[in-house]
Amino acid sequence: MLQSDEAADTYRTLAQTLSAEGLDWIVEQVSREIAFGKLASRQPDKEERKLSRDLFSATEEFTPQERLLMLLEGIEQAVVETAGMQRVVLSIVGATKAQVLFGPPSPEGIEYRFGEREARAIGENAERLKTLLAEIRGEILRGT
């Protein structure tokens, strides 16, 4: 089981790594979700029911372990799954297509590109990354 302080340390280390690698948008998105809190609801008590029987909506703070799980999901979605998506696109359109490019309506240059060579290079690493992220998730969930 991963203790709260270890979960918080791991979160910090991974967040710093992501920022250093130019993937800080993942950390920002996870931070926004953390700041908003976990959605919850509460039954009204006897006094409160006099006015309405409706549930109260509420938010609770995420635990350090839950925060780490959210960051792991972010890494999986943004790094592991996008690598898989690139491979799916290339396998369906055929390997003869040299590059897949994304650009704006105005001819200001290409915003993003990938091709067979890049997708192949990243493939094995993304698979290994998924396995390691699952190991951390396993450590967290063993304690719940």
């Binding site: 991963l2 203790q3 270890e6 791991t10 280390t13 991974l14 790594t17 690698e21 130019g22 993937l23 948008w25 998105q29 926004r32 979700e33 908003f36 999901e73 972010g74 890494i75 979605q77 943004a78 790094v79 592991v80 799954e81 996008t82 690598a83 898989g84 998506m85 690139q86 491979r87 799916v88 696109v89 369906i92 359109v93 003869t96 297509k97 040299a98 590059q99 897949v100 490019l101 994304f102 650009g103 704006p104 309506p105 001819p107 915003e111 993003y112 990938f114 890049e118 997708a119 290079a121 990243i122 690493n125 993304a126 290994r128 990354l129 390691l132 992220l133 190991e135 951390i136 450590e139």
Partner: protein, 225 residues
Amino acid sequence: MALNPALLQEIQVLLHSCASISPSSSAAGADIYEAYVWAVAIDAASRVGASVVYRNRQGQITTNLFFRASPGRIGAASPAYTYAELLFPDCPILEAHIGIYVSGKSGVAHECDVAVLHKEEADRCRADQTLNPRGSSVELAAECKFYPESRAGINLARSFLGLVKDIQPYFRFFVCSRRADRIKKLLHRHHQWYELDVVPTNQTSQNRLRALFENTFVQFKARYL
């Protein structure tokens, strides 16, 4: 039990090696996701008998695939974005596009992340660049949401409900890369087609989405028997 430091170190090394090709913003991630769902739609069309040709705005067969990083008009002259031409025997020719505007019944333009529409309508809009294809010419549309914030997700599903109301309700799909129970509840309640947690490592969801798309094309073909 504390985490093995070697585990974290290896993750850091792997993140470094993957970073150069990983999307550098959520918008870039969304672009890749749209291309992925578009490719699943093309795969579905092929599996039910379509021949596929990739063309650019000028109708030339392309080697590179060039997609919009933000939505635009199908007829925009420059640059030459790629679309897939889908040819089913004895049926009108279809085209599969990414990120185009489509006219709703109200006359308002809506963005379609993935749209499969009649070539005849697309040609009309390429000839008159001011026009957007009409919703009724769209045989399949998918609203693609990549890793949305859970708070924003429900709003995205709500706007999807508005979109399908204005563009015709049939064969419009909400596709999301995350599991999202609240979105599921909302779309299910309103009898919408959706598939959540659609990512390459979830083959079940990916196959279910492809089956939904295949069914769309089967129904399209049946109209021309």
